[in-house]
Symmetry: C2
Subunit: 158 residues, 2 copies
DNA sequence: TATTGTTATACTCTATAACTATA
DNA sequence: TATAGTTATAGAGTATAACAATA
């Protein structure tokens, strides 16, 4: 264990705390935390293809499909043929889905407030900035690290 | 959607990026990201009761038990009777488990390095501090927020 | 040829509740 | 009475791979 493990573990601990609190709050209105994210993404993007929805969440298209099927059964989401691309389907909130999203959003307010209140004013924007920086680094530098890893593997083989 | 949503979403995005990269790296040596956390917790704590292990991860005792059963089948973990408390069982890494942990730890090095390198020196400790603050707030102030929520519910009922 | 989505499939994590045994 | 762990059970998310239809 070196000191570098601290950051990943702290990130994990903070996210798990958020996730559990979210499950408890959103559960009161009958959705999971991840379903809330899907509903929120549709609420902002209106009508999206499944692929675009998966990209924004972010998640896997087949995962998103499984979630959409569940939400469609509950009448919260509607999937229609795409107007111009007949391979694609668009997903959108139904009226019930919009109401459910608003209920869930309200149920999550105490969590959002608490996260804000525990921090100094300037620290909020700073934390968002640092988290975004970490996320972008982990997502985009995949290729360069993969090269690094395979270089290491080659060296170990020789 | 208010501005308060930014922080939870940024936290989620950063964690998911970390988790996916971790799954990919740890997968190379045959463990999941969460199994790695369990192995790491045992590596630091040596011999722990299942309950203590669950508390440190943090996770649920029945979740931890399911994970231990899986890892025990693979010969990475050993569960023994507790020396003084005969209700309890202790969990510890086997020799193979220690080797596996070291392999996995090495496989995760590029991820840890990348997280560190993308940040300014001072920002690392700051980010850890802020994340810890958020996690503690979300974990410990559960009771006070629950009171607040029920107060709101009462007001809405009246 | 590449892309969108579906389907089948499998696995891990998660967690509640009822239960046994022990402290 | 409270605590440690087990068991049964259920559900959700995750993701790969093979496939059909369309761009």
């Amino acid at each position: 264990m070196d000191g570098n493990s601290e950051l990943p573990m702290a990130l994990r601990a903070a996210y798990l705390a958020l996730h559990r609190r979210s499950e408890a709050q959103f559960g009161k209105v009958g959705v999971t935390a991840d379903q809330f994210v899907l509903l929120a993404t549709l609420a902002r993007g209106d009508s999206l293809t499944q692929r675009e929805l998966a990209r924004r969440m972010p998640s896997d298209p087949s995962t998103v499909r499984a979630m959409l099927v569940l939400l469609e059964k509950q009448g919260l989401v509607r999937r229609d043929a795409h107007p111009s691309d007949s391979r694609a389907r668009t997903a959108a909130l139904t009226a019930a889905g919009k109401r459910k999203f608003e209920q869930a959003f309200a149920a999550g307010e105490s969590i959002r407030d608490q996260m804000i209140e525990t921090l100094q004013t300037g620290d909020i924007a700073l934390l968002v900035k640092l988290l975004t920086q970490v996320a972008e680094s982990l997502n985009s530098e995949f290729a360069s690290v993969a090269r690094f890893d395979s270089k290491v593997a080659e060296e170990e083989e020789s």
